[in-house]
Amino acid sequence: MVGTRASSSLLKGLMLTVLLFLFIFPFLFLLINSFKENTEITSNPLAFAQKFSMENYTTAFEKMGYLSSFTNSLIITVLAVLLISLVSAMTAHYFVRNQTKFNQYTFLLMVASMIIPFQAIMIPLVKIYGSLDMLDNVWSLIYMYVGFGCSLAVFIYHGFVKGVPAELEEAAMIDGCTRTQTFFRIVFPVLMPTTATISILNVLWIWNDFLLPSLVLISPENRTLPLSTFSFYGTYSVDYGPLMAGLVLTILPIMVVYLFAQRYIIQGVMQGSIK
């Protein structure tokens, strides 16, 4: 009995390992080929590089404008994520503590808007912001992320603010805090775990987003990482070596973050899904 159980769990472990390999292998091939010359890649994409060279990486780094697109991606993601969390937490808190008809309907409208897909908005969005001359601008993009991201964030915060006892805030206000001070000193710190969850979901979305930046950002110096990877791929599509290196460079930052924060990221996704 014990023997069969041990061997069946061994078999399961083996199957899972094979599956895991299937999940990881595209990244492995990418990495292997990123060090090879073009002829080596086409003659055998499975082999390791004969001589280890970083040349592909320096080419890709330069031609992609890696530094500038990485900086753009970083600024956009960090600012958008911070702003979404801040304004959504404030709004959700206000909605929970002031349950007027108007606030309840506004909240319902925001929740309902979550089923509107981006495709139904992109054409008028480009027309409106184009006519206001607000396209091709990193700040407009950040602003749009706040607009698109706040519904879900308000929704998630709303659920958690309800769990914060109102007495806590009343006590603070009796002690002389203003409403704003109460929020920043008492409520926002208490909501920290929720903020972490929302930030993780938003980082994964905004860092990797392609369609919205491709419509908003036009000049090469404004490009985010996914945009410059894609345009680099379009112009160099026969030269595999630098392309592979470029893809590795695009993936690298988020993989490094994942290496350190893996537990929190998976937990964040878990909590974000339980509505």
Partner: protein
């Protein structure tokens, strides 16, 4: 209910707490959405400063646009296969990784990795795998199905899109299913085993019914993402070969931004939105009926 003293104070607090969010929400989501409805009644071409109202002309054009319905049909087929496969794979992974197997955290972390990377990059990686790595393997080993690129054959290109999607989302949905499995109370499962319920009975009578909320969330997410697929579609197949894998989202994009037919493009986007909203709401409505309490 917390209230400040004085009307002016109340207005100021309201503006501070809800002003920025509501302003961004209205100007980025609601105004474009409503303006988009208006645009469907115009013949705007994207360049000229004037446009005129054309009534329901764009909507009747939607029904006559054979390509739109072809891409929509293809998207339906794609959604059907990806929703079933993603959720089946994700549930099996979650189930095997939720009962204390050795190194389960490593496995969970590994299966999640594709979700860290955006669809554009994933599509480009798989383009290389399908057109180089697999072809090389096929030619060396003599396996005929691999020896020519899948992306050059309309039918296989569709399946490669399905494979990449399953690979991309299975890890994400797995995480949601693990959360659901952890909320199934262990004591009732133990009680059932003591009463002699077999593994299959526990699965079909207890675990699956209690997991309905997770299935609702995951199927909802996979449905929505499936219908809206764009970036993997663009970077893996570009809709090719010969437009055979062009999904509806890509078609709407091309109608509006490349053919400069914004009115029609927007009308198609709205028709798509209404169809998808109807399908997802029906799904949620019917699966809510299956929910039980532990």
């Amino acid at each position: 209910m917390i209230k400040e003293k004085g009307k002016w104070n109340r207005i100021r607090t309201r503006l501070l707490f809800t002003g920025p969010t509501l302003f961004a929400f209205l100007t980025v989501m609601m105004v474009p959405f409503l303006y988009g409805i208006y645009l469907t009644f115009t013949n705007w071409d994207g360049i000229s400063t004037t446009h005129s109202l054309v009534g329901f002309q764009n909507y009747s054009a939607v029904f006559k646009d054979i390509v739109f319905w072809k891409t929509f049909g293809l998207t339906l087929k794609y959604v059907a296969f990806t929703v079933i496969l993603v959720n089946a794979v994700a549930f099996l992974l979650a189930y095997s990784l939720s009962r204390g197997i050795k190194g389960q955290n490593v496995f969970r972390a590994g299966f999640f990795i594709p979700n860290l990377v955006g669809g554009i990059v994933l599509g480009l990686i798989w383009q290389f795998i399908f057109s180089n790595v697999l072809v090389y393997v096929g030619q060396k080993t003599g396996i005929p199905i691999l020896s020519t690129s899948w992306l050059a054959d309309p039918d296989k290109a569709f399946w490669s899109l399905v494979i990449v999607t399953v690979w991309q989302y299975a890890g994400y949905m797995m995480v949601i299913y693990i959360a659901g499995l952890m909320s199934v109370p262990n004591d009732i499962l133990e009680a059932a085993s003591i009463d002699g319920a077999s593994g299959w009975t526990r699965m079909s009578r207890m675990i699956l019914p209690l997991m309905v909320p997770s299935f609702i969330v995951c199927i909802f997410l996979t449905l929505q993402r499936g219908f809206m697929v764009y970036d993997v579609n663009l970077s893996l197949t570009k809709g090719g070969p010969f437009k055979s894998t062009e999904m509806v989202s890509m078609h709407v994009y091309e109608k509006a931004f490349l053919s400069r037919d914004y009115g029609l493009g927007q009308a198609e986007a709205l028709v798509l939105f209404l169809l998808v909203a109807a399908i997802t709401l029906l799904q949620v409505y019917f699966s809510k009926k299956l929910e039980v309490e532990a």
